[in-house]
Symmetry: C2
Subunit: 399 residues, 2 copies
Amino acid sequence: MATVSYASYSISCCSMRDSHDPQKQKLNSVKFNGTSTRSTTNVETLRQTTEAASTFSHVSVAENGYITKEQRQNIPTKKQFADPFRQGLIVEGGVGYRQTVVIRSYEVGPDKTATLVSILNLLQETALNHVWMSGLLGDGFGATHGMMKNKLIWVVSRMQFLVDHYPIWGEVVEIDTWVGASGKNGMRRDWLIRSQATGLVFARATSTWVMMNRQTRRLSKMPEEVRNEISPWFIEKQAIKEDVPEKIVKLDNKAKYMNTDLQPKRSDLDMNHHVNNVKYVKWMLETIPDHVLENHQLSGITLEYRRECGSSDVVQSLSEPDEDEILQDAVNQDNNTNLLNGFSLASEIIMGGGLLACLEKKPIRYTHLLQVKGEPKDEEIVRGRTTWKRKIPTMPFST
Amino acid sequence: MATVSYASYSISCCSMRDSHDPQKQKLNSVKFNGTSTRSTTNVETLRQTTEAASTFSHVSVAENGYITKEQRQNIPTKKQFADPFRQGLIVEGGVGYRQTVVIRSYEVGPDKTATLVSILNLLQETALNHVWMSGLLGDGFGATHGMMKNKLIWVVSRMQFLVDHYPIWGEVVEIDTWVGASGKNGMRRDWLIRSQATGLVFARATSTWVMMNRQTRRLSKMPEEVRNEISPWFIEKQAIKEDVPEKIVKLDNKAKYMNTDLQPKRSDLDMNHHVNNVKYVKWMLETIPDHVLENHQLSGITLEYRRECGSSDVVQSLSEPDEDEILQDAVNQDNNTNLLNGFSLASEIIMGGGLLACLEKKPIRYTHLLQVKGEPKDEEIVRGRTTWKRKIPTMPFST
């Protein structure tokens, strides 16, 4: 594996002091600033962890107390097998990555389950930590040293996410991620989210990535140098098996729901100075009507990325339910407002546990489009498909 | 310490199977799903961690494979001294909490430093984990068993945050938090954020909390039962020493900057079904002009909370710079656009390294107000003060 050192990112990770620096050991130890704890065994365990951490860590403080940004970040230049701080571990015969994560209080919504946005953020995080552990990370969003030398960045072209169970606040989950080949010039990255306690699979995801020249903004072939870096990490295993990926139709301005004049805020820009992909998903979901969100949970989302969104772009978010949703809409309105009580009774008599109950249980599907308003024509940013399952059946005659 | 068990939250944490359940051990071990890793020593270290974790964990699976929400959350009913999953530790003689946190890729902005919003979220998270570890957590946002029995919730009345250094992407920080008395019926909660590698203090925060009846929405005295629960955790230590807290003046509609018609989105609601406090800060900062944000970093924020914001409220965000900002504004415009080049040269000649340079270095301060538009009058949600330091001096004559 070729690791090319990149001029603007010379990491001087080799210890300027011994990594068993007494100063650092003091900081890592449980007694800090003269404080002590009453705990015994459990603290001992954590002390082992922090000691392990300091063995792992390359950070060292220069004699003058100055610590560089590179030292603060401490990006490994060699493959690491475990990272106690990130709770990360190399698995899958040395090529996959597993991270243990606790769902935080601000990552959940009013129903105390992790939001889709939080989960997508965790997928991004584990992917980057995988590259981080590999020793290949140059800088930024997962570009390897070879990619940086060739002025290449990763761009995502497709992403699919399926969720059976949303993790809840305080729950401990394990996120596995690994990569594989996708055609000649692409890379597939998959994820699996599991309960740490039971091993039950909560969610799975797959994505495809290609390389883009960061100056010309044109897609690029994978240079041999980069292939040599990353291909040893490729495996065949797939989190989601799809024979023929579903094509997402392009919506036009006749779509049922539309949010216009969306503009990225400063806080929506990520460290690549781009509107983060996760923001796109937020914009998409904001078109889904409230009564659907109240009774349904997203069970799947597919995204096809077409172009980047710049910080000055004005964006439109369109969405269109599949045909079934229109009748279901009537059912929901009926439940919510009792305006169509006669219809409800009639339909109960006529259809019994039949069509209506079937519709109740059938997931709702939406097609989405984010586009940039422009002259001479609007330009697509991303197409999407979402699937929504009912949370709990509320109609007495649903089976 | 009285721990009152609350009817709707009966936690059956006692093992239904032995916690050394072979199934779980298998899940915790490194070889998972038939995969193995090439690592040796480091993996061993992490295995120790996960084994420690399983000793700590109370989660167990019923014979039928069913696992309740309570088991999934696994809120401790007794004081814990260490939590390997959260990387948390009881410190300060058994009453404070310390958590090791890695700054994640999506928690940083375009400049690769953690955003204020991310840091405030981490403060909330560590505060809740402190209560979590104490064995006192009933449910939701840090309410103890005694508070739940008395239908009380915590509401924040004041918060102050000072930051010297923003942690960067991938940096490992330690967040300490502890509580103290605030008057007869309130509680103070403080935080300290430090570099894990060097111990350098990055930021400090303090906050005051009072109790509110969740039905009447009126403030409440601290019941004896609750005092008995929480007062053993109180210490005197203060992260920020303030003799006389600065009063924040109330802005009116003549304020220089104003964003109107702000409406909370579904995704802004937290598990208390309220607009999260952190959202208020986002709304405040969005009024700060771009040229200030480009060249400055927030170095301090003080918030005085007045009332809750409901999900249907329409909010206005007002802000007003201190007088100095107006002249500084001219200087910044000058730098950015060169429109006032003559003035710049003149001022350089006239003022030399004097007034202008002084203004350049002096932090900018803003007063803020979030209010709900209403009849007969607007109602205050929160008043704020922010202080902004220049990132790097850009003017050649700044000293």
